[in-house]
């Protein structure tokens, strides 16, 4: 199959859709995102624990918000990005898109689990229960199963390109769950509170609490980008192992580090 081309403004955008071109680019970006994530995390934790005041109603229990809300945002956003790349892979048949979707799934599942875990630990002291079959909680649990289903389906199919296509269909169908999670607190009047942060309304939380939460959200973004770029590089190595450039790359590594770390 010939390489597709999408030329806009004299740039062939499919150039970066080649795993060979993307591999070094991703490698160069990882340290920047990792360090940015570490800095945002340190600043967010400092403000979250040493600057933000005690909440009048919830006491110190509210400090779970600095993990819970960023994790919940990432769980939904990573799914949308994963479904987007899966869809691009289906339409344009670009190999890298499917690899990107596969690389995002474990990190998305991690943040989904953390949103549920921290939610349970926050629900117990504030609601008096670890878990209720509330619309928000239930749809977030379905999101976790969608991530697991995506990974299990891909793992069950030997041919990577077929695994990409099957996973893409699952990811796209499952994307309907994202607006359900997001709007569940408006559509069903259940236990979970409404959105903490809205672009349309004035903030209802103290400015320092909001700052800490947004810094932690930025940290989660940076970490997710670094982790998925790192994983996609491993996937490229796994799938392109027969290619000359991969052999060159492996040889260049072993020249500099004899132990082949």
């Amino acid at each position: 199959m010939s390489q597709p081309s999408l030329v806009i403004g004299n740039i062939n955008w499919f150039k970066y859709a080649s795993p060979q071109t993307f591999f070094p680019l991703a490698g160069a970006m990882i340290p920047w995102f990792a360090w940015a994530g570490a800095v945002f995390c340190a600043a967010g934790l400092y403000i979250g624990f040493f600057v933000a005041p005690t909440d009048q109603q919830q006491g110190e229990a509210y400090r779970i918000i600095f993990i819970h809300v960023p994790a919940a945002w990432m769980s939904m956003f990573i799914y949308l990005v994963m479904a987007f790349w899966a869809g691009v892979g289906l339409v344009f048949n670009t190999r890298l898109s499917g690899m990107m979707a596969s690389a995002l799934a474990p990190t998305g599942a991690l943040f989904t689990f953390l949103a549920l875990w921290t939610g349970a630990l926050w629900g117990k002291p504030t609601w008096g229960t670890w878990w209720v079959w509330d619309a928000r909680l239930t749809s977030e649990l379905i999101l976790l199963f969608l991530y697991f289903g995506f990974m299990a389906l891909q793992a069950a199919i030997d041919d990577p390109r077929r695994a990409d296509r099957a996973g893409a269909v699952l990811a796209l169908v499952g994307a309907v769950n994202i607006p359900i999670i997001y709007f569940s607190v408006q559509w069903w009047n259940t236990l979970h509170q409404g959105a903490s942060v809205s672009l349309a309304a004035a903030p209802t939380m103290a400015a320092t609490m909001l700052t800490g939460m947004l810094l932690m959200a930025l940290a989660a973004w940076m970490y997710s980008i670094a982790a998925s770029l790192h994983r996609v590089r491993s996937i490229i190595l796994e799938r392109e192992r027969g290619a000359d450039w991969v052999a060159h790359y492996a040889r260049s590594l072993s020249e500099f580090t004899p132990t082949n770390s």
Partner: protein, 58 residues
């Protein structure tokens, strides 16, 4: 700042189990993912064919 001492900080106003339970599991799982990322890369590199001649399947 809300804390007068270190033990005050760790007590988290009586919510230590919930707050530290959240942060500890988050830190632990992220650390686990980083270790798994490093291992996956190491395995991917280790399973590369040495030369094109003795390349395995694919």
């Amino acid at each position: 700042m809300s804390w007068s001492s270190g033990s005050d900080f760790f007590a988290m106003g009586g919510y230590a189990l919930y707050v530290w339970g959240s942060y500890a599991v988050t830190a632990g799982l992220i650390l686990l993912e980083v270790v798994m990322l490093i291992l996956r890369r190491r395995n991917a590199l280790a399973s590369l064919p040495e030369g094109r001649g003795e390349a395995g399947p694919r």
